[in-house]
Symmetry: C2
Subunit: 337 residues, 2 copies
């Protein structure tokens, strides 16, 4: 297979590092690899396929000749450099929130709406982590029996906020265990041995940006602009892996058995659901795995045609790096570059 | 005020210890105090109001002459000894699940259904921790504007499972921080840096007992036998303090401002709700406090007349010990002994 020239922006971050791991594990046809980051990481050495590479500065010229540019830095970096990279001829796969809701930017989860990618104009957006695992699990059910309403409560790990947040959790946990006060720096309040009902910033209506993204990105990906979703997004002291408690109302009766059967057959989904032996997914086991795990599939009799489910996935892999690489793989396979 | 003779069953447990603290802090008229526990705790010394007391064995004879018997041991102990204590003339206030759904046993949260306590026949049940904080927050809203449906996702601390669970979390956290494997003993899976979608045992329909309790106890306390509630109960690596993400559908429009005003005036509730300064409740701050804290009060536009709220309380205090002592205080005040 023809080797592709790849740039990774934010190569030293948690998601950037995971993109490298996923490219290597999936044997992606990587020819030239350009690792880009902010100035303070320039010169850092990173090993890819037994080859040591130096991190370079993210500049407008860095994208010349690239086939793909994976953006895994902040929204500001994407805003500045993604159009430049696209202009230079690279297909940008952007993990930031910058372009996701732009009408002419496809927002893609391959298991759900791969065909949207075809119409790209140089930038394809990868959704927010909590959105990806939700749609991978819920879209197959929706295709079988239209969803009328969903309530989603999330349990989101700190790695979703980046490396600093992981360090903060570890440091605070160490301090709390030794009876010392744990002052917050990255998050507004202590996260160790605590939960915070805030992911991302607050909007005027009282929702957080994370809640807004979960609702609006899901609608765009599922092509259901009026889908009714209520959400509360919560940060929990978990390092990797987001979990979601989902209560869904369907159009027609949907037995837990039928839903389980649909999910067992669904791409990217793995059902772990046997309460008798305490089998259900949880973030510690999902960490490092590719699948979106679903368990606790059961009737919610408080709703008409209701089901409840528990959805867990590694937010750095399917929630970020893996989804981005899968988009690139599918674009190559279909000749949509 | 006349001093009362008090027995505490399970005096060495987390809830029993909290009952002692609450009795002392609230200056309850404690005359004789009898500390009862299982055989392995007999002879242990506990200080109450600067007086050292010895733990005695829980026996049928131990309740003779007692005015109140607080049961804070397991369901089996309540089942065996609560009827004996009541027969001996003590008013039993039982924290276990044993009698809660018995038609002739009042299930009481003083802020919500104190009058139910009057008809007691020697046993008053105190609800499950996650139920208490839910009804303290939701009943005032329900009184103003009838609730049609609630979806509740919980974030429950390990102290709700007792001392062993707290030790397990601390030990596992220490091991994980030092790169060692953390085998589960008390819970079916690791709880440190993880979340588990299981509180209590599973029922045949796929719900857990904890979810069943949250639904059915709430209905009994609020005198709404058909109230529609969907629930997912989740254990999180928090030591003390349960949190709940609640999405509610009301009969008529309910603005967030109106709901906030109702809650500010509601007994036992403290509103902490100003997103601009990241003001919302979380378990680390609620620990050791008496109130049920409510924040993130906002519209849920996915529902007709919907609101979302975030409810946090100390599961050992209002969720257990404080509620039990408040029941005793009110019974005394009203001469319902």
């Amino acid at each position: 297979m023809r080797q592709r020239r790849i740039a990774i922006v934010g190569a030293t971050g948690l998601v950037g590092q995971e993109v490298l791991r996923v490219l290597e594990q999936r044997n992606f046809p990587v020819g030239e690899l350009r690792l880009l980051a902010s100035d303070r990481s320039v010169g850092k050495k990173i090993v890819f396929r037994d080859q040591e590479l130096s991190v370079e500065a993210t500049t407008a010229k860095a994208f010349a000749g690239m086939d793909f540019a994976f953006f895994a830095a902040g929204g500001d970096v994407s805003k500045e450099y993604a159009p430049i990279a696209a202009e230079a001829g690279a297909l940008v796969i952007d993990k930031s929130g910058t372009f996701r809701m732009e009408p002419d930017v496809p927002l893609v989860v391959p298991e759900v709406n791969l065909d949207d990618a075809k119409a790209h104009k140089g930038i394809i957006a990868s959704p927010n982590c909590s959105t990806i695992q939700l749609v991978v699990a819920m879209n197959p059910l929706h295709q079988r029996n239209r969803i009328k309403h969903m309530t989603v409560a999330t349990y989101q790990s700190v790695s979703g906020s980046g490396r600093e947040a992981v360090e903060e959790l570890n440091e605070q946990a160490e301090r709390v265990l030794h009876g010392q006060p744990a002052a917050p720096h990255f998050y507004p309040h202590q996260i160790a041995f605590n939960v915070l009902p805030q992911c991302d910033n607050f909007l005027d209506d009282g929702d957080t940006q994370e809640e807004w993204k979960l609702i609006h990105e899901t609608r765009k990906i599922m092509h259901e602009p009026a889908l009714r979703i209520g959400a509360t997004c919560v940060r929990v002291p978990v390092i990797v892996g987001h979990s979601e408690a989902v209560h869904v109302e369907f159009t027609r009766h949907f037995s837990a058995e039928d839903a389980r059967e649909v999910l067992v057959e669904s791409p990217g989904v793995k059902v772990l659901d046997d309460p008798v032996v305490a089998l259900y997914p949880y973030p510690w086991m999902a960490s490092g795995q590719d699948e979106v795990f679903v368990g606790r599939i059961r009737p919610d009799d408080s709703l008409t045609n209701g089901l409840a489910l528990w959805v867990v996935s590694d937010n750095l892999r399917k929630g970020a790096a893996l989804n981005a690489v899968q988009i690139a793989e599918e674009v190559l396979r279909r000749g949509w570059l």
